[in-house]
């Protein structure tokens, strides 16, 4: 219990934005249909935890230039409560065989379109 408490303390402060890392691959995102599917999966699953406002999945640029944040999925909630539940509920689960790591993401960076954090 002590350890669990410490782990909670080490977590960065909760924000309204949850970032899922190690979720999707560049190849999956290149395909329009797959991209739409992933987006829908995220909306449905993310909506279970709270009022989900926005889902952002950065896609690789068509010319192959490196694009920031590819492989991540951002879920923006109306409140911290929803984001907190989503982070706890999605962290460690599998999405398409990948084990998801869910972290809070700075709201200001998210709104500035800075997905490379």
């Amino acid at each position: 219990q002590q350890i669990a408490l410490q782990r909670l303390m080490l977590q960065p402060a909760p924000t309204k934005v949850v970032c899922l890392t190690q979720v999707v691959t560049e190849d999956e995102l290149k395909d329009d249909q797959e991209y739409e599917d992933i987006l829908e999966d995220m909306r449905i699953e993310g909506g279970k935890f709270g009022n989900l406002l926005n889902v952002v999945i950065p896609r690789p640029s068509p010319d192959g230039a490196p694009s920031p944040g590819v492989g991540k999925v951002f879920l923006e909630y109306a409140d911290i409560d929803g984001a907190t539940k989503a982070r706890a509920g999605m962290n460690g689960r599998k999405f398409g065989g990948n084990q998801v790591v869910a972290i809070f993401y700075a709201e200001n960076r998210f709104h500035e379109g800075d997905y490379d954090g």
């Binding site: 669990a4 249909q33 599917d37 999966d41 699953e45 706890a88 962290n91 689960r93 999405f95």
Partner: protein
Amino acid sequence: EAGSGTRKRKSRWADDEPKPVIQLPDFMKDFTGGIEFDPEIQALNARLLEISRMLQSGTSQSGLPLDDRPEGARSPSPEPIYDNMGIRINTREYRARERLNKERQEIISQIIKKNPAFKPPADYRPPKLHK
């Protein structure tokens, strides 16, 4: 018929329900889930800790709750008792310690009454029913 309807495809999310972050073994649920958070038990536990600290803090200038009014102002001490070396047994510290020990045993009895799963310290002696 290779998956004609894209609408009815399966979510990529694994089926398993989201796990609670902290999974405690069953035997611990009794402690954490309910009775441990009972405010009465918490108060008893807090007092128990306080007493243990006072008892461990040594004899002189200690945390023992001694009446520090001058001799004439406080209630009179009982008749001194000496051991066979002529050293007084029932000093003020000794009596304060005895009082705390007694209170400590009583608190532990109360906690056990409320929470039979409570594991008393090794030096706890259940009260005798008759002397």
